[in-house]
């Protein structure tokens, strides 16, 4: 490559770094981060995840997490969670492609306004603030703390369990197994610490497989509290993403223009 072109490419990259947007992270007491806009290379990576497993969405989640981290202009100083990532997805979609998308559902044309989705999410997160901050529950000597899963924990799950695994979802037996495992994984992702007497076990310090072993040994009543928590926040998110009865899928289709 010629020297002129090298200089040009450096300038192009510097311009990309300057074209940023502010992302308000509602689960962190109105904290915000500055993100760079999506590049075409990153857009291609997202679209490639279209062949992802619809049950785990591991490839899409890993890719979008990687892009989210690359986009941050500086370290936020706190752990980012999957709601932060959802807000990033909606915001980067708006800034990098367009603020709306039209989908055809059963012959009906639905216009998705990402601004509207963000507005609904903001309102609901504010209204149900207790669901988006860490909580704890105690039974006997055991106290568990849980919250919205961090993106790091989800990366760990995808790397350890889902990477390079192909599911045959035509096979009912395998499908049942995958759904069961995905359910346990959701619970394990949400847990932060386990306290027994004065001893605190930080689950983020071990592997995801270890985390699963610990979850399996916890009393069912404690697990039930976590399930109720997950169901509550997921319902709020799902309602926010529903327009005219259509739930906007948070996957690669969000980034396709046709």
């Amino acid at each position: 490559m010629s020297t002129e072109n090298k200089e040009f490419f450096e300038l192009l990259n510097s311009i990309a770094n300057e074209q940023t947007f502010k992302l308000n992270l509602l689960g962190h007491e109105e904290e915000s981060v500055v993100c760079k806009q999506l590049t075409t290379s990153q857009l291609k990576e997202l679209i490639k995840t279209a062949v992802d497993s619809p049950l785990t969405q591991a490839a899409f989640n890993s890719t979008v997490t990687k892009i989210f981290k690359e986009s941050l202009t500086e370290n936020p100083g706190f752990k980012l969670n999957i709601i932060d990532r959802l807000l990033f997805i909606l915001e980067t979609r708006t800034h990098s492609l367009s603020p709306t998308k039209i989908v055809e559902v059963e012959g009906k044309s639905i216009t998705i306004s990402f601004e509207e989705l963000k507005k609904k999410l903001k309102q609901q997160i504010k209204k149900n603030n207790n669901l988006f901050i860490n909580s704890s529950v105690t039974e006997g000597k055991i106290t568990i703390s849980f919250g919205i899963p961090s993106i790091e924990t989800e990366v760990q799950l995808n790397e350890e369990l889902y990477k390079n695994v192909q599911f045959n979802l035509e096979d009912m037996e395998e499908l049942r197994k995958v759904i069961g495992e995905a359910f346990i994984n959701e619970i394990a992702k949400s847990l932060n610490t386990i306290t027994i007497d004065d001893k605190i076990l930080d689950l983020s310090s071990g592997t995801f497989k270890n985390r699963l072993k610990i979850v399996e040994s916890l009393p069912a009543s404690l697990i039930q509290k976590v399930i109720e928590y997950i169901e509550s926040y997921k319902k709020i998110i799902s309602d926010c993403l529903t327009i005219e009865g259509y739930t906007v899928p948070i996957d690669s289709t969000l980034f396709t223009v046709r």
């Binding site: 490559m1 002129e4 072109n5 590049t39 291609k44």
Partner: protein
């Protein structure tokens, strides 16, 4: 006699095609699957000679200009192109007006040359050069990215994209709004070029004669435009030397028009010698290959 050829950004003075170059074109397009590299190298060398421009200049011509130059050379050397078409099970002879073909093709260039602007970034999108089309590419639209310019603090920084590899690096670094516009422009161009049918002006709609911006299409048209069988050319050179007493080297240095004139003249002479009452040892020549242009 020299002739002028008008390209998208330049006017070239061209010398006539010589028989030896004509022979090279027939050779490099010979067979069912001629080699693309040999074809391009041969034709570029001939074009460079005819136009008195460097080989680099010729290889950097966009493919539409290259095709127009090929049409002009054919039209000025051999005239229009005869085609045999079939419609409703009937055969028709059609003389394809190559100047009209050139005009239709040239008009496309304007449609596909555009500058995509977004904020302080500009991307020049243009029909690819022969050189770029010969390079491997993951996506066809990459070869259409010609240059880019960034204006920052009233200073302009320009990059000429000369390889598809550079184009890919550049494309990947672009904001998606621009890259999607590049793809849109490419799709619009493909749509307009595939709609164009050179036969529709003659009322033939079932058959398609369309030029696509690819080396394969260029090669296909070169075979159509220069369709004299190679053995016929060799035979004619032989007869012009043997019966016409013309030096073969001299024949190869003639323009194609002059060559055809002498072939015609020799045919007349041989025909008169073969007429009843004349006893000539050359009487069997008329029945042989050569001296008779074969129609395709």
């Amino acid at each position: 006699m020299n002739f002028l050829t008008q390209l998208s950004k330049d006017t070239l003075i061209c010398s006539e095609l010589q028989v030896k170059d004509y022979k090279e074109i027939l050779k490099c397009t010979f067979g069912d699957t001629p080699d693309k590299i040999i074809f391009i190298e041969t034709v570029c060398r001939i074009f460079s000679k005819i136009t008195n421009r460097s080989l680099e200049y010729i290889k950097q011509l966009n493919i539409i200009d290259f095709f127009c130059l090929l049409l002009d050379i054919r039209a000025n050397s051999l005239g229009n192109c005869s085609l045999i078409l079939t419609q409703n099970e009937q055969k028709f002879n059609l003389e394809l007006d190559l100047i009209k073909v050139k005009q239709e093709t040239s008009s496309l260039f304007e449609q596909l040359t555009t500058t995509i602007k977004h904020s302080n970034l500009e991307v020049s999108f243009e029909c690819p050069s022969i050189e770029r089309l010969m390079q491997n590419t993951k996506e066809d639209y990459l070869s259409y990215i010609k240059s880019s310019c960034i204006t920052k603090k009233r200073k302009k920084c320009t990059a000429m994209i000369t390889t598809n590899e550079e184009a890919e690096l550049f494309f990947n670094a672009l904001p998606p709004k621009i890259s999607l516009e590049i793809i849109d422009n490419f799709n619009k161009f493909v749509e307009s070029i595939t709609k164009m049918n050179y036969l529709s002006r003659y009322g033939f709609y079932e058959q398609q004669l369309t030029f696509l911006p690819s080396i394969e299409s260029l090669l296909w048209f070169a075979k159509l435009l220069f369709n004299e069988p190679l053995n016929s050319l060799y035979d004619n050179i032989f007869y012009l030397s043997y019966s016409g007493k013309m030096n073969a080297e001299y024949v190869e240095g003639l323009s194609v028009g002059e060559y055809n004139y002498f072939v015609g003249l020799l045919r007349q002479v041989l025909a008169s010698k073969n007429s009843p009452g004349e006893n000539n040892q050359d009487q069997t020549f008329e029945e042989d290959a050569g001296l008779f242009e074969e129609e395709t």
